[in-house]
């Protein structure tokens, strides 16, 4: 029994990690209807920046605070000159642009930081293990659970309950009307995109002690965050949260119960969810 409880805790920790990873992607899609395929690239950029900041300052927390700012800046450099002109065009064109940037970011990070497998150590205080249910459990993963929950709460308050959130959602629902009301929709979009990429960078630093930092991890997490976001229902905020938890638990228990299918459990779950509810768990209507 303890074994299954432990696995459930593992699944919860992994799910919260996935939520941190997926939040930025979900935000940008939910508010701008763009699937940012460069999401993995920004994640990796944030991770490497965090690594460098950590090496210069010796502080994990500084890395966690500063790396997202720089990553957001990079997001701005993508959005303003390149993405903005494409808002008039189809969503496919916008997605393809981000795809091109995914390649650029993956090579750029490799060029600047090398091909080594690197890792960012967890901050002092969180780099030990605590005893839970009779076995050791890394404190850092508990931190990730807490951070994920805090982010979820913060985003919910900020988007669903605040005026800013209302403005953003209005801008997506009906651009012309919102513009007519005197709101600079283009600036709002830029802001959202920058915030989304900053979140990706934040996830990069937060996940680095667990996933490691090396070329290739960007596309790995891109796929899994796409799955999470699609399962939950693209563009719905609760979808991203519950989708992450579902995938986290499914992946963990899949590995334990059906080891031969470990590679495909999350794909099977996604297929099953989409076939039962074609717009994801919480998706309003199929896009």
């Amino acid at each position: 029994m303890t074994f299954y409880l432990l696995q459930a805790l593992n699944g919860c920790a992994y799910g919260m990690l996935l939520f941190l990873l997926a939040a930025g992607l979900s935000l940008i899609f939910g508010l701008m209807e763009i699937v940012n395929l460069a999401h993995g690239g920004f994640y990796l950029l944030g991770a490497y920046l965090g690594l460098s900041i950590f090496r210069w300052t010796g502080s994990f927390w500084l890395a966690l605070a500063i790396a997202p700012l720089i990553t957001g800046g990079a997001g701005f450099l993508l959005e303003w000159p390149f993405l903005r002109p494409l808002y008039r065009r189809t969503h496919l064109d916008q997605i393809l642009l981000t795809f091109g940037f995914a390649f650029v970011l993956t090579d750029l990070t490799r060029w600047l930081w090398g091909a080594d497998v690197q890792s960012l150590p967890a901050p002092r205080g969180l780099d030990q293990s605590v005893v839970i249910l009779g076995t050791l459990f890394p404190a850092y993963r508990l931190f990730v659970i807490g951070a994920g929950a805090a982010l979820a709460l913060g985003l919910w308050l900020g988007l669903v309950r605040s005026r800013l959130g209302a403005v953003v959602r209005a801008g997506v629902a009906n651009r012309e009307m919102t513009q007519a009301l005197g709101i600079d929709v283009a600036a709002v979009f830029t802001g959202v995109f920058v915030f989304g990429t900053a979140l990706a960078g934040l996830a990069g630093v937060a996940a680095a002690p667990i996933l490691g930092v090396f070329p290739g991890v960007d596309f790995d997490i891109l796929i899994v965050t796409l799955i999470v976001v699609v399962v939950g229902g693209l563009g719905t905020f609760s979808g991203a949260f519950w989708g992450s938890l579902l995938i986290g638990e499914a992946d963990t228990f899949g590995k334990v119960l059906v080891p031969q299918a470990a590679l495909v459990v999350i794909y099977l779950v996604m297929a099953a969810v989409l076939l039962a509810r074609p717009a994801g768990l919480f998706g309003g209507r199929a896009r």
């Binding site: 699937v35 390149f82 002109p85 494409l86 065009r89 496919l92 064109d93 393809l96 642009l97 795809f99 091109g100 940037f101 995914a102 390649f103 650029v104 970011l105 993956t106 090579d107 750029l108 060029w111 596309f219 796929i223 796409l226 799955i227 699609v230 693209l234 031969q260 299918a261 590679l263 495909v264 794909y267 099977l268 996604m270 297929a271 989409l274 076939l275 074609p278 717009a279 994801g280 199929a286 896009r287």
Partner: protein, 347 residues
């Protein structure tokens, strides 16, 4: 004016009608004659480009003509490749046996995926195709006893034809060229037909087609299966070309690569993706020999295409050939649509 019906659908719309035919003739001549220069390397490079040209054209039937963006097109491709590998190494090497078997297997895989994936649309459809292709990848990866697992299946002999020896680079090249040409003609005919026009209708406005009485699910399924069959052909040839198959052939990056070829070349024409395939392979093979930054170059090229040339290389070619005209992924002068079932019933 007697124009080869295949040619017009094959090439991008350009101002000079005769020019299209000329371009086609020149390309055909080059493809026929280049191997005779004696360069084995040229023959093998062109063979690979032709194989991927078939693959890209097959995906374009889905992406450009029907509006279905699939990220799982590696599935029929890979399944066919593995069929060839298994049959050739354990059973017979006769082309007459392996090719039909591979086509059947690949098409069946496409049909199975289509039944499920086509129930969704847009990004959800994309993710479902990805999911099913990844499942196929997992099977190939795990079922090591049959598929060789991560080490793959190697030692695939060249196909055996009763009259010819296809061991050499040049004879094999001509086989691939012949099959590629057949595939191109068949695909062009399909896009020019009433069926092709119906697909275009589905792409433009599916709700309206349904309102007119068309069974859009059947239409999309048909497109999916035909595209799968063509992909299976390219997959079978790919296995022969490499003499080796590994699970990477089913991985999502293969699906991504062929999608890049289609989009770079220009979705909505058939020549576009073929050119896109050649361009991407050239970039991958040539650029990577000179610089380690070729991924950066590919990304930059992609961005450039999206920003400046959204219709891909085909669009650029069209604009060079005639008056500036936005290339529409349409079938100019396609035949009349087949009578919608409701119309027939009313009579």
């Amino acid at each position: 004016m007697n124009r080869a019906p295949g040619a017009r659908a094959f090439l991008p719309a350009s101002g000079i009608r005769g020019g299209r035919r000329l371009v086609l003739l020149v390309v055909a001549a080059a493809l026929l004659l280049v191997p005779l220069t004696g360069s084995r390397f040229a023959a093998t490079t062109l063979t690979e480009m032709l194989v991927f040209a078939i693959f890209a054209m097959s995906l374009d039937l889905l992406v450009g003509y029907t509006g279905l963006v699939s990220l799982g097109h590696a599935a029929p491709f890979g399944v066919a490749a593995y069929t060839v590998a298994l049959l050739s190494t354990h059973g017979t090497a006769a082309l007459a046996a392996t090719l039909p078997a591979a086509l059947v297997a690949g098409t069946a895989a496409a049909a199975l995926i289509g039944v499920f994936a086509l129930r969704a649309a847009g990004v959800y459809f994309l993710m479902l195709t990805l999911a099913f292709a990844q499942m196929a990848f997992a099977v190939a990866h795990e079922w090591a006893g049959v598929t060789g697992g991560t080490n793959g299946l190697s030692g695939i002999p060249r196909p055996a034809l009763p009259a010819a020896d296809l061991g050499g680079a040049v004879p094999f090249y001509y086989l691939v060229l012949l099959l590629a040409g057949l595939a191109a003609v068949v695909l062009a005919r399909i896009t020019r037909s009433p069926f092709g026009a119906a697909l275009a209708g589905v792409r433009e406005n599916e709700a309206r087609m349904r309102a007119m009485g068309y069974d859009t699910f059947r239409l999309k399924m048909a497109a999916f299966v035909i595209a799968g069959a063509a992909a299976a052909l390219s997959g079978a040839l790919y296995a022969y070309y490499n003499g080796f198959v590994s699970p990477d052939v089913l991985y999502w990056t293969t699906s991504g690569q062929v999608l890049v070829m289609v989009l770079l070349g220009g979705a909505g024409t058939l020549a576009g993706p073929a050119a896109g395939a050649a361009a991407v392979l050239l970039l991958q093979n040539l650029a990577s020999s000179y610089t380690e930054r070729w991924t950066l170059i590919l990304g930059a090229a992609f961005i450039l295409v999206v920003l400046a040339a959204p219709s891909g290389l085909a669009g650029v070619a069209a604009r060079l050939g005639g008056p500036l005209r936005r290339l529409r992924a349409a079938n100019p002068g396609a035949g009349p649509l087949p009578p919608a079932p409701s119309e027939g019933a009313a009579r």
